[in-house]
């Protein structure tokens, strides 16, 4: 039973990611490599962030404003890394195109680029889920469960699994939106991405209020769903445009 609980929490957080991986990413070796490097990228950004914050830890549990600063700096930093990731991707795309020319294959098509952005986003989301949720799940496989004082209605593992799922969806779709926005030079999407990331992060601040997790977690899920929907729309629009242009 306890193992079942642990596996269940892990599947809540990573189930969609796993099916995405098995269904889309694993078919193309290059996407797997993209995913791995994006995960590594996120990990490095997290290490740098924690290096910066290491001096100020541990934060006093009663005070909330340090958390606000933490959220702001973290989101800003991670959006910065997303820009770097985009630059690297652009370089890689050039190399890929050159390579395709050399072996006389067609260049990357639109769906290829979108798949790459999907893999990159999934890598970010996966890294988030792994480090913020999965690595803390070990006790969930044991004999007991764990409640945080401020959230006495839901087990801590369940809350963190749901939050991880939300962020996984948000990271994945934000990366797709961002790559489209950068590629098309759409200002709206470029601003949309950090704003949504910030909103989602701020929503987790609600968890600091006693009982806030009952409000913050559903809100986060709604944000994730809306982001997913928006990215779906963006992709659909882009593809239809592309088809029109071709025909």
């Amino acid at each position: 039973m306890t193992v079942a609980a642990g596996v269940g929490y892990a599947l809540i957080a990573l189930g969609p990611a796993f099916s995405l991986f098995a269904g889309v990413i694993a078919r193309k070796p290059f996407l797997v490599l993209t995913l791995l490097s994006s995960t590594l990228f996120w990990l490095i950004s997290l290490i740098v962030l924690s290096g910066i914050w290491r001096g100020f830890l541990p934060l006093k549990s009663g005070v909330w404003w340090p958390y606000v600063i933490l959220i702001l700096t973290s989101v800003a930093f991670q959006e910065g890394t997303r820009l770097v990731f985009w630059r690297l991707y652009k370089k890689m795309e050039e190399m890929l195109d050159a390579f395709a020319d050399r072996i006389s294959k067609p260049r990357l098509c639109l769906t290829d680029k979108m798949l790459i952005s999907l893999a990159g986003g999934l890598g970010h989301g996966l890294a988030h889920a792994v480090f913020f949720c999965l690595s803390l799940l070990t006790p969930a496989f044991g004999q007991a469960t764990f409640y945080v004082e401020r959230c006495s209605r839901m087990p801590f593992f369940l809350v963190s699994a749901i939050i991880a799922l939300g962020f996984l969806v948000i990271h994945t779709s934000l990366m797709v939106i961002a790559f489209n926005g950068y590629g098309e030079r759409k200002k709206r999407d470029q601003i949309f991405v950090p704003v949504v990331h910030l909103i989602a992060a701020v929503m987790t601040l609600i968890n600091l209020v006693p009982g806030g997790c009952l409000v913050g977690t559903p809100l986060l899920c709604i944000t994730a769903a809306m982001t997913l929907y928006y990215s779906w729309q963006v992709v659909g629009q882009r593809i239809t445009e592309h088809q029109h242009r071709q025909s």
């Binding site: 072996i103 913020f132 987790t204």
Partner: protein
């Protein structure tokens, strides 16, 4: 993990570049990942409950000089671990030289049989011990005769699969991974400080042994390549399961790992077989090498001009005759367009450059490219897994970080391999990255992430 670094895809099949690019890389990363995952699983399963006192670490070749005890001061531990690592690496080096000598005097049959014996021994004794521990942990009842029968049969098939070419490649790959898992699980029982220092020392040793002009591993490779001979060694081949039947003998030499030889010899030499075998197996694996013979040949086959250009490039770096020989054959076999005349001059050039060029920069990984895909020595498997297993004893977070770091290191190695195209040691980059990430994660990231996520604040 640069895409361009990966070998070019086989001509024909795919519609876009994306479909096949990186296949060879993944073919290596996948078993490595499986091996690490199994070791982590084993270690977390077999970890003694925290309440009971853990058994003292076994006395092995790696702890000959100093046996760590928790009460020692850090300075004591450091000095002791350094001594241990020095002794261990010295042992490995001695064994390697013995192997090279044996190989030089053409005791190939002896070496091969020795390797078979050691594979058998590892599977039977160490694998058996681990299986017993697992059965005990899971409370699975199994009577002794059945267990012995199963174990003996599994070991026998393992021995057959090491060198016999008739065995399906999947079985052989499976046994290679199993061997690596067993040895790594055994090794991860070493005390903490000794493990870290030993890993670093082995990474350095690997670098030197492959890179230095008189490095034992390099001498072995050169010998094997000059003889166009198969080196008896335990190496993981990532060739496609159903591949073209290119079974020319030239590939074989690329696949050897000297580690296995080391292991064998080590195992023999040790009077107290058990521990020694384990350790020396480890030492052996350190020298594992990766070769990616396939991409080279494919490159050649696909574009002749590029081929010649590459060959000349390789000449700068490649100091192993193996590659050249293989290239030559492949050119003749698969790419008739390249005239032998054009091919041979480049080879001659290569040889010249080999003589003249002292050493390539950091490209000393023992990886080769062959038509059969990348080959990675078992030692690399073992020590990657030891690193991850050691990380698993602390926390899962460090496991993920170390895994990513090792895979990234492997990716970098493969990129370098595709650039310089000769055998490279696969340990240094990965181990260095892994160790750095382990300590960064443990010291910096963990308090941060745990502090944030236990407050349910995430971003």
């Amino acid at each position: 993990m640069d895409p361009v670094a990966d070998g070019p895809d086989p001509p024909g099949s795919a519609a876009t570049v994306l479909d096949t690019l990186g296949e060879e890389v993944l073919a290596v990363m996948f078993p490595v990942s499986i091996c690490m995952a199994l070791v982590v699983l084993l270690i977390t399963l077999l970890a003694p409950p925290s309440s009971s006192p853990s058994a003292p670490p076994p006395v092995t070749a790696a702890t000959l000089v100093y046996l760590e005890s928790p009460s020692d001061s850090p300075a004591q531990k450091l000095v002791g671990a350094l001594l241990d690592a020095a002794v261990f690496v010295a042992l490995v080096a001695v064994v390697t030289f013995i192997l090279v000598a044996l190989y030089y005097y053409r005791c190939t049959g002896f070496l091969k049989n020795y390797m078979r014996f050691s594979a058998f021994f590892v599977l039977l004794s160490m694998g058996g011990a681990i299986a017993v521990a697992l059965l005990r942990r899971l409370d699975a009842p199994l009577d002794a005769p059945t267990a012995l029968l199963l174990l003996f049969n599994a070991s026998a098939v393992g021995v057959l699969s090491v060198f016999a070419s008739a065995v399906p490649i999947l079985v052989r790959q499976g046994y290679m991974v199993a061997l690596a898992v067993i040895v790594a699980a055994w090794l991860s029982r070493l005390p903490e400080w000794t493990t870290w220092i030993m890993l670093l020392a082995l990474a350095v040793y690997d670098l030197v042994a492959v890179l230095a002009p008189r490095g034992p591993l390099r001498m072995l490779v050169e010998l094997a390549s000059s003889r166009d001979d198969e080196l008896p060694a335990l190496i993981y081949e990532s060739r496609p399961t159903v591949g073209p039947a290119e079974t020319s003998s030239s590939y074989a030499p690329a696949m050897w790992s000297e580690e296995s030889q080391h292991r064998d010899s080590a195992a023999r030499s040790g009077p107290n077989l058990y521990d020694r075998v384990g350790q020396q197996d480890d030492s052996g694996p350190a020298m594992v090498e990766m070769r990616d013979l396939g991409s080279t040949s494919r490159d050649m086959a696909t574009s002749n001009q590029a081929v010649t250009g590459q060959t000349s490039n390789q000449g700068g770096n490649a100091q192993h005759a193996v590659i050249q020989i293989e290239q030559r054959e492949e050119e003749e076999e698969t790419a008739p367009l390249v005239s032998a005349a054009s091919a041979n001059p480049t080879i001659a050039n290569e040889e010249h450059t080999q003589i003249s060029s002292s050493e390539p920069p950091e490209e000393e990984f023992e990886m080769f490219e062959s038509s059969r895909g990348i080959k990675l020595g078992l030692g690399d498997f073992v020590f990657y897994s030891v690193l991850v297993g050691r990380a698993a004893m602390y926390d899962l977070m460090t496991v993920y970080a170390c895994y990513l770091a090792i895979i990234a290191g492997l990716g970098c190695t493969l990129i370098l391999l595709s650039i310089c195209r000769h055998a490279l040691p696969a340990l240094p980059i990965s181990i260095m990255l892994g160790v750095v990430f382990y300590f960064l994660t443990r010291l910096l990231m963990e308090p941060f992430v745990v502090g944030a996520s236990t407050n349910l604040v995430m971003f």
